[in-house]
């Protein structure tokens, strides 16, 4: 009968020839193939000692940027949290008090800013949503931990240090804010 799809294949079940029954030629052939692999070195990158270069736009661990005077850019507008498809970002806003002008750039800031790194899918939508150029993804990796709650990163892990800025110049392609 004609099959409907014409994709039917007849399986070959022919008896083995004498050469195939001896097995040895096939075995020797196979061993020669594996031997050629023995002579070859693989492409293994020994990770902790040897790090493969990251692409400039690699999306790794986030950073909350400060401006040139060392003030936090984030104003806790919540757009990143809204944009986040994985709902990994939460924050609590607070008002800047007098005398805190050197800490926060605008009169509202994030008192608590948390990213759950287990939820995060590193899509970079928070970075795109941010109107203040505050959050960026960097080429740093999120290290492993033993407990889940250690993956909830607060401001202490996310905000860059004043004297140890994180270079994200290669990622500043959004053109929203020019120096």
């Amino acid at each position: 009968m004609q099959s409907l799809t014409n994709r039917k294949k007849v399986v070959s079940d022919k008896p083995m020839t004498l050469m195939e029954k001896i097995y040895i030629p096939a075995i020797v052939g196979g061993m020669w193939i594996t031997f050629k692999h023995l002579m070859r070195r693989g492409n293994t990158v020994k990770y902790p000692e040897q790090i493969r270069p990251f692409a400039p736009v690699y999306r790794g661990m986030h950073v909350l940027k400060r401006d040139e005077k060392g003030r936090e850019n984030c104003t806790a507008c919540g757009l990143c949290a809204v944009a986040c498809p994985a709902e990994a970002i939460t924050m609590t806003a607070a008002e800047r008090k007098k005398g805190e002008e050197h800490l926060f750039r605008e009169e509202k800031y994030a008192a608590v800013y948390e990213i759950n790194m287990l939820r995060c899918i590193f899509c970079g939508l928070c970075e795109e949503a941010c109107p203040k150029e505050a959050i960026f993804l960097t080429d740093r990796l999120v290290p492993t931990e033993f407990h889940r709650d250690e993956f909830i990163y607060g401001k202490d892990q996310l905000v860059e240090l004043v004297d140890n800025r994180i270079d994200i110049t290669k990622r500043q392609h959004t053109g929203k804010r020019t120096k």
């Binding site: 196979g30 061993m31 193939i33 692999h37 023995l38 693989g42 293994t44 020994k46």
Partner: protein, 345 residues
């Protein structure tokens, strides 16, 4: 039996025992390395330089694991199984001639724990008892996978023992002796049996693979069908002993193949050396041969897929046994012609 004799033999036994264990331990490391190389990987390289401490780490891990005995298992048989396996795997090492005699402390020390006139028979006896450990372990586990593994192991051993025995008989006929020392002595220099009996060697080697449960004949453990086969229920050092005994028997089988077919410690140009120099070079040559065969065992394992069980039985009963019988007959005929049975007088 003077004291010196007892000390000599005890030292030898301890050395061979430790050597077998160390070689078996490092075979596990080497196996992983070889597997990695064949698959374009690097293999264990974290524990110590080049990962050389890996077997020790594995051993420590094995000891730390929970030693579990299933509720429905036959407790005593379950415990005794791995013991029998490792004991029987180690037993043939006493009779293998490791090298030419050493001269030390004014004594001639044979590098062989003991020598029987019926050496080969002893080895075959020990090898066939080897299946008991597996059989007992698989039966005592009271688990269908273990039982399947055990049944497969025993039927496989029985099938391949015959062809192995027949090919060994061919060598015995050529040598005219069951004594391993004489078999080695007969292959002096480069007169190795493999050059006279290549077919016999191939059969023997295939059977050795089957006897040690190595791929492509590793049906008794066969992870993809039987989980772990006869050692499915085992854990901790009992499992360790099972795995270990596999490597010990690879070592012993390699030694046996080297003795029967590759001239043991004989090497071309050995007449230029005498005494201790000869002994040490012979020992090194013998261990080189053994290492080579261990490597070939691994090479085959990481090249060939596993046989199906009916193919295994087919190969054993319908191919290897007839071929080895024909080989035996031809050898007999040639020896008869050579000795002049037909036309003397």
């Amino acid at each position: 039996m003077d004291l010196a004799f007892i000390i000599e033999k005890t030292t030898l036994i301890v050395i061979i025992f430790l050597l077998s264990l160390v070689i078996a331990a490092y075979s596990t490391y080497f196996e992983r390395k070889v597997a990695a190389w064949f698959q374009d990987r690097i293999g264990p390289d974290r524990a110590g330089p080049f990962g050389l401490l890996q077997p020790i780490a594995d051993g420590v891990k094995m000891f730390m694991k929970e030693d579990f005995i299933p509720k429905h298992a036959d407790k005593w048989l379950f415990i005794i199984g791995p013991g029998i396996t490792i004991f029987v795997a180690l037993i043939p090492s006493i009779i293998i001639p490791w090298g030419p005699p050493l001269e030390m402390f004014g004594r001639k020390i044979a590098l062989q724990v003991t020598n029987f006139d019926f050496g080969i028979l002893f080895i075959f006896g020990a090898l066939s008892v080897g299946v008991y450990g597996i059989m007992i372990g698989g039966w005592a586990s009271n688990n269908k996978y273990s039982l399947f593994g055990a049944v497969r192991a025993s039927s496989q051993m029985i099938s391949y023992e015959l062809a192995m025995g027949l090919s060994a008989i061919t060598i015995i006929m050529m040598t005219g002796s069951l004594d391993l020392n004489e078999i080695v002595a007969k292959q002096h220099g480069m007169n190795w049996n493999v050059f006279y009996q290549p077919v016999c060697f191939v059969i023997f080697f295939t059977c050795a693979l089957a006897e040690t449960n190595r791929a492509p004949f590793d049906l008794p453990e066969c992870d993809s069908e039987l989980i772990g086969g006869y050692h499915t229920e085992y854990s901790s050092m009992k499992l360790g002993l099972y795995l270990f005994s596999e490597y010990v028997s690879i070592f012993i089988s390699s030694a046996l193949i080297a003795v029967l077919f590759f001239g043991g410690f004989n090497f071309p140009g050995m007449d230029y050396f005498t005494g201790n120099t000869l002994a040490i070079i012979g020992l090194l040559v013998f261990f080189t041969k053994i290492s080579f065969f261990i490597f070939v065992f691994m090479w085959i394992r990481w090249t060939l897929p596993r046989f199906r069980f009916d193919q295994l039985m087919h190969l054993g009963w319908k191919t290897l046994i007839p071929v080895s019988i024909v080989n035996l007959l031809i050898t007999g005929l040639v020896i008869a012609l050579y000795e002049g049975w037909f036309w003397s007088n």
